[in-house]
């Protein structure tokens, strides 16, 4: 087939109807622009919302849960061995929440090559003293540097320096909600009552805002040492081990494994945050549906213009065939016309889509609950552009396929006789 000739005929036919061609191409451009803009925004939003919880949540959390014994007395009875037993009588016993040999476990985890990092944590309940009032609270003892490296802790410290937690003895980073209630600022000293009833003074070196109010009105952070002292425990006392994995999707599997190896409770991120996965999935689904619908509409636009063109160019097609062009040539001409509209429209669509994304990316988006975010989130994933372009090519190909086939089947005798 002589591609140069086919191309030159296609272009001439396009030019003869450039207005309609332009409208069809603009249809494609518009739909690809919206497709790219929408998906970039939606997946940016997904990333942001995921980041809100998932980024600073351990992929696997090892801890000890207070719960009733798995073996209830009735299970031991021979008589009811093959029955479904639901009578539970033994209550949970008062166990220490401490993880035995935490250092050993952490060493073992650090040597696991699927693991990026491991940080210990000590959690304790406290009361923040405000005048005559005691406010319920939780203090997590953390290694501020490691916690930042693995779980972006520093992004949420909105005031003060997170490293002061380590450098200043007896310091605390207060939840913003707590600080507001207590009417304290950076540098102030507060008093907390520990679960043992002791009162301890701590210096406020930072304020912390997670974006989730329920957390911000109870949660504060101290160093591991300080927290262990609040509890009156030794420096080996650890209640949680947080693990970050190389591949987060393996979390449920590895959690099961650790549970068996270390005889601890292991919670994986997917189980802990199932609702986020669902939300992300639905948002992605909606954006794809809207994008594809737009493309199909654009496809009909192309289908229409081609059909019209073929109707008008019956005589030309007949004469091309009479002078030696085969059905295949005619088919190629119209497929080429459709593809040109699709590809040119698509490429402009990608460019405009990128433009739209950049614009959205610069629209200020200040919300108290998301301190790390200043503008609307956009994901510039090349995958979106690739999908957009592929879709535009596929849609226009199909939009061109049937008209082109019709044109290739035109019988020149009928046209010529019809005159």
């Amino acid at each position: 087939m002589n591609y140069k000739l086919i191309a030159s005929i296609s272009i001439s036919l396009l030019m003869a109807r450039w207005r309609q061609t332009l409208v069809a191409a603009i249809g494609v451009t518009f739909s690809i622009t919206m497709f790219v803009g929408l998906l970039s925004f939606m997946s940016g939003l997904n990333d942001m919302l995921d980041g809100l919880i998932l980024n600073r949540t351990a992929h696997i959390r090892l801890y000890k849960e207070i719960k009733p014994s798995k073996q209830q007395p009735i299970d031991i009875s021979n008589e009811f061995k093959n029955y479904h037993n639901f009578i539970r009588s033994v209550k949970p016993k008062n166990e220490r929440l401490e993880l035995y040999d935490a250092a050993g476990i952490m060493n073992a985890l650090k040597n696991d090559e699927r693991v990026v990092g491991v940080v210990p944590k000590v959690t304790t309940q406290v009361f923040y003293n405000v005048g005559a009032l005691d406010i319920n609270g939780i203090i997590d003892g953390i290694d501020a540097a490691e916690e930042s490296r693995l779980f972006q802790f520093k992004d949420y410290v909105v005031d003060g320096n997170y490293l002061d937690l380590k450098n200043t003895p007896n310091s605390i980073i207060l939840g913003k909600g707590v600080a507001e209630k207590m009417m304290v600022q950076l540098g102030d000293v507060i008093v907390v009552t520990t679960s043992k009833g002791e009162q301890i003074s701590l210096k406020v070196v930072g304020l912390f805002q997670s974006g989730i109010r329920d957390i911000d009105i109870v949660q504060s952070y101290c160093s591991l040492n300080t927290t262990q002292r609040l509890l009156g425990e030794s420096s080996t006392y650890i209640t949680d081990i947080q693990v970050k994995l190389k591949d987060v999707s393996l979390a449920p599997l590895i959690a099961k494994e650790y549970e068996n190896v270390f005889h601890l409770d292991a919670l994986d991120i997917q189980t802990a945050n199932a609702q986020f996965e669902t939300g992300s999935f639905i948002r992605t689904l909606i954006s794809y549906s809207v994008g594809i619908t737009l493309l199909i509409v654009a496809g009909f636009g192309i289908y229409n213009i081609l059909n019209m063109m073929i109707y008008e160019k019956m005589d030309s097609i007949a004469i091309l065939k009479a002078t030696g062009f085969s059905g295949k040539d005619v088919n190629a001409i119209f497929i080429l016309i459709a593809s040109t509209i699709g590809i040119v429209g698509g490429i402009f669509g990608l460019a405009f889509g990128l433009g739209l994304s950049v614009i959205i990316d610069h629209v200020p988006f200040n919300t108290a609950s998301l301190p790390a975010i200043k503008t609307y989130p956009i994901n510039y994933n090349p995958k979106i552009y690739l999908i957009g372009l592929s879709f535009s090519i596929v849609t226009t190909y199909f939009a061109g396929y049937f008209p082109a086939r019709r044109a290739s089947k035109i019988d020149p005798v009928i046209i010529i006789r019809g005159k």
Binding site: A322, R417, K419
Partner: protein
């Protein structure tokens, strides 16, 4: 017998809509190289129908069509297109030029499709053909800027571009006045006598027919004189 360029054997053709009618009945004849033939007959006797079959555009017939010793019944659509492109120049009553292209490009198109020689040479040849027909001055115009007679001459130039084995024409002067008809006829005659071009022309013009080498007369789907 290498002089026979086109031969039909018992060609019959039916139309089935609205009722089955046999419009061509056992047509058998031969065309020799260099012959200038006219086909005449009353309106509706099947001249155009026969011409469409001979030009390989209509494949729905009984009997056999041989062009330069090859049986057309064995060829597929693309191969027939190739035969039309290479061996047959067609001129219609209505000129059928493509208004999207210049006159010159219109003449070049079948040559470009054949692709035996470079685009430059095709352009040169096309210009030569236009010159031969005395319309080289219009080469860069669009077809819709030409008169009917000029358009018909462009169509003849296009039919000539690949130096076809035969030129077939269906009432090429049917739409033209006396003067333009005369011009077109003279062109055909010149092609025949100077270039030994084979021609098969369907016409209603008996005066025209009488000046050709051979007349095939049809009546009611049959050849009654040849």
């Amino acid at each position: 017998m290498s002089n026979v360029i086109l031969k039909t054997e018992q060609i019959s053709k039916y139309f089935h809509d609205p009722i089955s009618v046999k419009v061509l009945k056992d047509i058998s004849f031969e065309i020799l190289k260099g012959e200038f033939i006219s086909v005449i007959g009353k309106s509706g006797c099947g001249k155009s129908t026969l011409l469409y079959i001979l030009s390989t555009m209509d494949t729905d017939y009984e009997g056999a069509l041989w062009i330069e010793g090859e049986n057309m019944g064995n060829k597929n659509e693309a191969e027939l297109a190739r035969v039309r492109n290479e061996k047959i120049g067609f001129v219609f009553q209505f000129h059928y030029l493509l208004n999207e292209f210049s006159v010159l490009k219109n003449v070049m198109l079948p040559g470009l499709k054949l692709g035996n020689i470079s685009e430059k040479e095709i352009e040169h040849n096309a210009f030569e053909k236009l010159k031969l027909l005395g319309i080289e001055k219009e080469a860069l115009k669009k077809p819709n800027q030409l008169s009917g007679g000029e358009k018909q001459r462009v169509a003849i130039a296009r039919a000539l571009i690949n130096n076809p084995m035969i030129i077939m024409a269906d009432e090429p002067t049917g739409n033209l006045d006396k003067k333009n008809s005369e011009i077109v006829f003279n062109i055909f005659q010149e092609l025949s006598s100077l270039y030994n071009q084979s021609l098969l022309i369907v016409t209603h013009d008996n005066e025209f027919a009488n000046r050709t080498n051979r007349i095939i007369e049809m009546e009611d789907g049959k050849i009654i004189k040849m």
